[in-house]
Amino acid sequence: MSLPARVATLIVAFLAVAAVVAFVVVKYFLTSSGPPVEDFTAHVTPDTGAAVNVVMQEAPQTTVTTDPDWVTYFIQNPQTHAWVHTTNFSVPAGSKINITIYGYDGCTPLRNQLWGQVTGTIGNSMTVNGKPTSLLNSWSECSVAHTFAIPSIGLNIPVASPTTFQANSNLCSTSPCTMSDPHTVVRFSFLSPRTVGAYFWQCKIPCGLGYLDGNGGPMQTIGYMTGNMQVAG
């Protein structure tokens, strides 16, 4: 092979490799930003203990995506009050975070009963339909659908489910669910950390329908049963 031919081959090979690298970077790193982040930091001064209200719902399916049989959380936009299919939200540091979760999914026994205990909230308590509760037994009662846990700050909330056989047999079938569907209302408050950063949260019930022991799918995908709480300074 002549020298010009060799040089040309080398240049073509280099350009091909560079093109593949550029494609991977653009496709998988620059454009896939993940689910949106609902911002609850507006008009709140961090580290003042000011209250922030976050409203979420967990739904038995995700009919707004291509994975309709995956369970999921939705977060209500603080301005429009529209339900957004995301599990990422940002809150101000050092603030009192009041969370309301509408629980539309049916009951499932906890894999570890320890997570039936409420921890990390103000007073280590929550309310279920207005009733103060600190512990739910998900084995002896139809009581827990999912959990909302931020392990790094010790927060653990067993999210209550509708309790009757009838309600669990007539769960909401289109997401996001509406107030007319059977549901529970869970409320709790906690203090956001003073340290700025991302704090992941997760469900501790293996709720990945169709995946081995329920551990895959929505359990491993941000935007469904796990996400990030961004703490902003």
């Binding site: 049989d69 049916g106 009951c107 499932t108 026994p109 906890l110 894999r111 570890n112 009963q113 320890l114 039936g116 205990q117 600190s134 512990l135 037994n137 084995w139 002896s140 009662e141 139809c142 392990p151 790094s152 010790g154 309790t163 009757t164 056989f165 669990n168 047999s169 992941f200 997760q202 501790k204 019930i205 293996p206 709720c207 990945g208 329908l209 169709g210 995946y211 081995l212 022991d213 329920g214 551990n215 895959g216 799918g217 359990m219 491993q220 995908t221 941000i222 796990t226």
Partner: protein
């Protein structure tokens, strides 16, 4: 024809290169080993918080002491050869012919064989003593201490470790607290996927497999903080699966354990009885609504293989 072969010129006597290298190698090796033993050894991981951690630190020091002279020999030979046997300006002749030196070859084979076999024996022995060297030994440990002071069950789950203390009513907590001076028997298991319990400063590393009781031993001899990490890729938040344990005085441990036992009494009541492994897919005491809904356990039973969508 080299310059030394020219008529009328004296034949240059080749110096004893082996002796030269030996004279460089011996003091340097001695110095390196002394530095390793007296300076590096006390700071080698994982420290001396437990008997097994101290054993691992000693093993690393021995390996370093054996390895340093070998590495130095190779480096010295390379540097010496590069300097002394380099081609000099005007030297266009071939080098001297290379001949086999049976004594050198035999010595090299004998020394390296002795070193490798010696370290093999040493390493095998150190894996056994003391008490399995902090590694998980399965359900029936072959190398167990004569007496165990405290049992701690390590339960791994996505993405947190919890610890159960059967000698204190079987309470379960995300906090790992251990007393100094007690022989600890860890029973490591998992509730979901495969994890691995790696308590770095304790020198304990044991796989956490669902349905398996993996036993490891350690005796803390110092108080302090312990970093616990999962060392088996276990899902989305594997990187966040870590916590900090503590080794405290026996009195402080007793106080903590008794206080925690009382604080967690209500949740301990609803935990399953202490067992060496748990099967969350088959719960014996399900409530009537759960039974009517056809739920038999947490995962598996509900989302079992009968569900058509599989990854």
């Amino acid at each position: 024809m080299t310059a030394s072969d020219q008529p009328g010129q004296a034949v240059r006597r080749e110096p004893s290169h082996g002796l030269r290298m030996l004279l460089i190698w011996v003091p340097l090796s001695l110095a390196a080993d002394l530095v390793i033993w007296f300076v590096w050894y006390p700071h080698l991981p994982p420290g001396r918080m437990t008997d097994v951690a101290a054993g691992q630190q000693f093993d690393l020091a021995v390996l370093a002491i054996c390895g340093a002279p070998v590495i130095l020999f190779i480096w010295i030979f390379g540097v010496y050869a590069t300097i002394v046997w380099r081609r000099r300006p005007g030297d266009n002749d071939d080098g001297p012919p290379i001949r086999d030196n049976k004594r050198v070859s035999a010595a090299w084979i004998a020394v390296t064989t002795a070193l490798v076999l010696g370290l093999f024996g040493f390493g095998t022995y150190q894996l056994i003593v003391p008490n399995g060297a902090g590694g998980g030994q399965g359900a029936s440990p072959a190398w167990a201490p004569k007496k165990v002071d405290l049992q701690v069950q390590v339960i791994a789950q996505q993405w947190v470790f919890t610890y159960r203390y059967p000698q204190f009513g079987g309470f379960e907590t995300p906090q790992l607290v251990l007393p100094k001076g007690s022989v600890i028997e860890f029973h490591v298991t998992s509730l979901d996927v495969i994890h691995s319990f790696w308590a770095y400063q304790l020198g304990v590393k044991a796989d956490a497999n669902p349905g398996v009781d993996n036993v490891a031993f350690a005796k803390p001899v110092q108080t302090g903080s312990v970093v616990v990490r999962c060392s088996e890729l276990c899902g989305l938040w594997h990187g966040a699966m870590f916590d900090y344990g503590r080794v405290v005085s026996p009195a402080a441990f007793l106080k903590w354990a008794k206080t925690t036992e009382v604080q967690l009494a209500s949740v301990t009541k609803i935990l399953p009885p202490f067992a060496l492994t748990y099967d969350p897919t088959a719960i014996k005491t399900l409530g009537p609504v759960l039974v009517k809904l056809g739920l038999t356990g947490a995962g598996g039973g509900f989302y079992g293989p009968q569900v058509p969508v599989q990854p």
